[in-house]
């Protein structure tokens, strides 16, 4: 006979389990039994995501309104309960929703969680009307949240000139944001502890400069507007770039161990300058594009090279000078024809030179 085990677990373990469950389901579990009635007031992670969870409101004639109301009520209850429930802090919140131009409501929610010393914030506020984009503008409180360690911002805007102070921030991800060079610079100045920085599908930059002594990982993906990108981060270990900028300057980043250049438009000289100027490089990935026909890859510490040919192009000639190479992987494909040819090989020898 199966018995109820889950109700016997101590509160911290139940909170841990429910941190992986959408908040709407957690609140609904309050009618399971007396044991479960007040549990939801103490779960440290809140997960509100309209796309994934809208089916919970499908009986409502306006599911999105019902979702908004739910988030609002839930946060208000948590706010009130904080006075009499000791372990009711909110450390992590995910809010993915459409934006109905009611910024005051969203501001209230965010101000509340920031006041409660939230540590991780994942926000995606999609514009409602795709013909006439109106983006939600992030309140200043979020950019001055002292306890924040992880921040993800997606599909919104912020005032690029407002003061930023995020002294605990370690990871920052910006997705689908219009971002000017000055705003980026201003933002990074306010993040003195930042280690991971990912920019995805952001537009509006022309000559972005990323300068920091704490950054270990930088990724710039889907970037299309920059003429020149300057990265000045002396402790950077990994850099991924996927975009069509022809001028990427990494000369100050001598500590890079992992480098990925995807859809790269750099010419032969710039490409070689980058690769050969990184004395500690261990792993290098490149997807070849039309401009880089003949080039040289060199590095004393290079252990792994991955190359991928994207478009059906003419011959590519690569010379590799890497005495410590352990693995070389090449993948070529013909996208245009019916013939798909993939070639992948790995070599385990100390000297590899290929024409």
């Amino acid at each position: 006979m199966a018995v109820d085990r889950i109700s016997k677990l101590p509160d911290p373990l139940i909170h841990h389990i429910l941190s992986f469950v959408p908040t709407i389901d957690v609140v609904r579990m309050s009618i399971l039994s007396r044991r479960w009635r007040h549990i939801w007031y103490s779960v440290p992670t809140l997960d509100f995501c309209d796309i994934d969870q809208i089916d919970r409101f499908c009986f409502h004639h306006q599911p999105h309104k019902a979702f908004y109301k739910f988030v609002d009520k839930c946060l208000k209850h948590r706010w009130r309960s904080m006075r009499y429930i000791a372990d009711s802090v909110i450390t992590r919140i995910k809010l993915h929703t459409e934006y109905y131009r009611d910024s005051a409501v969203l501001d209230n929610w965010l101000n509340f969680v920031v006041r409660g010393n939230v540590e991780e914030l994942d926000l995606c506020i999609r514009p409602e009307d795709f013909d006439n984009f109106v983006y939600y503008c992030l309140p200043e409180s979020v950019l001055n949240a002292r306890s924040l360690t992880v921040l993800k911002l997606d599909n919104l805007t912020f005032d690029g000139s407002c003061s930023v102070s995020l002294p605990s921030l370690i990871s920052l991800t910006l997705t689908d944001l219009e971002l000017h060079d000055e705003a980026l610079h201003n933002l990074l100045l306010g993040c003195p502890a930042l280690e991971n920085f990912l920019l995805r599908e952001c537009s509006g930059m022309h000559n972005p400069r990323i300068s920091s002594s704490t950054l270990k990982f930088v990724g710039i993906l889907g970037e299309e507007t920059s003429e020149m990108i300057e990265i000045e981060t002396r402790n950077l270990q990994s850099f991924i770039y996927d975009g069509n900028c022809e001028n990427v300057n990494l000369s100050a980043c001598k500590a890079i161990r992992n480098l990925s250049l995807l859809h790269c438009l750099l010419d032969k000289q710039k490409l070689e300058d980058i690769i050969c100027g990184l004395p500690l490089l261990e792993s290098f990935t490149i997807s070849l594009y039309s401009k880089s026909k003949h080039f040289r890859i060199c590095g004393q510490h290079l252990k792994s090279i991955r190359m991928e040919k994207i478009y059906n192009q003419e011959e590519v000639e690569v010379t590799i000078e890497a005495p410590n190479l352990v693995s070389l992987c090449y993948k070529g494909s013909y996208l245009s024809g019916e013939l798909e040819k993939d070639l992948s090989f790995t070599m385990a020898q100390s000297k590899v030179s290929e024409g």
Partner: protein
Amino acid sequence: MSSSSTTTTTTRLLMLKASDGVTFEVEEAVATKLGAINNMVEEEGSEDLICLPNVNGKFLGMVLEWCKKHANNNTNSDKGNDEVNKWWDKEFVMDLDQNTLYHLLMAADYLSGTELVDLLTEKVASMIRGKKVEEIRETFKIKSDFLPGQEEEIRKKNSWAFE
């Protein structure tokens, strides 16, 4: 995740004794993946028998099996091991019944095996996610002990969550 600090200590063996008297001989590098054992070794050394009165031999054995796999996978250099660990974790939790899951989780929590606690709590969460309350009640055999009408009262009071 990182076990670089433990690789320097060669194959010193620890003796662990479960609540039912079953003993296990485990490499120190494996057992110290568990925060509680790591603390005991740091404070009291590793010569004596380590008694764990809150864990039964069957579940201690399973916890140690998990630690062993992760310790082995992590010694074979960096990349690719995350994948191996993930695959192995999936296998590890796949067919656990609720009774075992409960005792394992309690054991992992008591021994401060943070990664294992994460794995097991996520497994339980996966059994909850996407289910209606009645389905959750059925899955975990949770009996309602509300007074007549009380459940309806909660639903009404929090109608914003039940509409």
